[in-house]
Symmetry: C2
Subunit: 140 residues, 2 copies
């Protein structure tokens, strides 16, 4: 087995190339892909808690804390303590954040469009199926 050129490396490389593509596309708005996904999530489901954001994006709650603090500092989102349970924050986009979302969404969907260029529906379905199968192999 080639330890330096195999399916794991290929998946790693594809992920890297996708991230780089999104990074470039988002650069004019001075945000990272990670930040963009938080913005997109809140644009769809406003008022989530940090824990819910972490769960939705499969990230550690501590990463979410730091990213949201940084986005709050930039004036993109703000946190309100939930008055029914003061352990929670409800995180929301500011007006600036909502306006940013309209710019960010085409960046993400644009990358996905390029990604899928030249793929038939059958190829997309097959790729999805095989990736889910591999992912599940890793989770067992």
């Amino acid at each position: 087995m080639d330890l330096l050129d195999n399916i794991a490396v290929l998946i790693h490389d594809a992920k890297l190339d996708i991230a780089m593509h999104m990074t470039k596309s988002l650069a004019p708005y001075d945000i990272t892909p990670e930040q963009a996904f938080i913005i997109v999530l809140l644009n769809e489901r406003d008022g989530l808690s940090q824990g819910e954001i972490a769960f939705a994006l499969r990230k550690d709650k501590s990463s979410i804390t730091r990213m949201i603090v940084s986005l709050e500092t930039k004036g993109i989102m703000h946190r309100i303590t939930n008055s029914y349970d003061r352990r929670y924050f409800k995180v929301s986009l500011t007006d600036k954040g909502k306006s940013l979302a309209t710019n960010v969404i085409p960046c993400i969907s644009g990358t996905i469009d390029v990604l899928e260029t030249g793929f038939s529906l059958e190829e997309m379905n097959e790729l999805r199926r095989l990736l889910i199968k591999m992912r599940d192999n890793m989770r067992k």
Copy 2:
């Protein structure tokens, strides 16, 4: 288009699950997958320069500097200035590093074995083909 559940997210998740599997498998040896790949590379091609390692692993030379300094501190590899061109280092595994390599290699190949479980040769070839196609879409 679903911005939070699409092929890019699936590739991201698969990469994450593979990394977590390798991390767990390597934990007894107190090294990370990134470190493991440097060890595997040097085990196959001893005496590479830091730039060559960076190129082979698609990493930034500054990341390689810091990782190798750390591995040198752990006594796993050492650097010798190339006497013909003193800008270069030749990086080599120490005896401890070579011995570690014999433990690390089965961890990596073990993860890949699990990853490929239940895949036919045709499925593997098709997955490879589709991932390369997507990767190339991102590189254009």
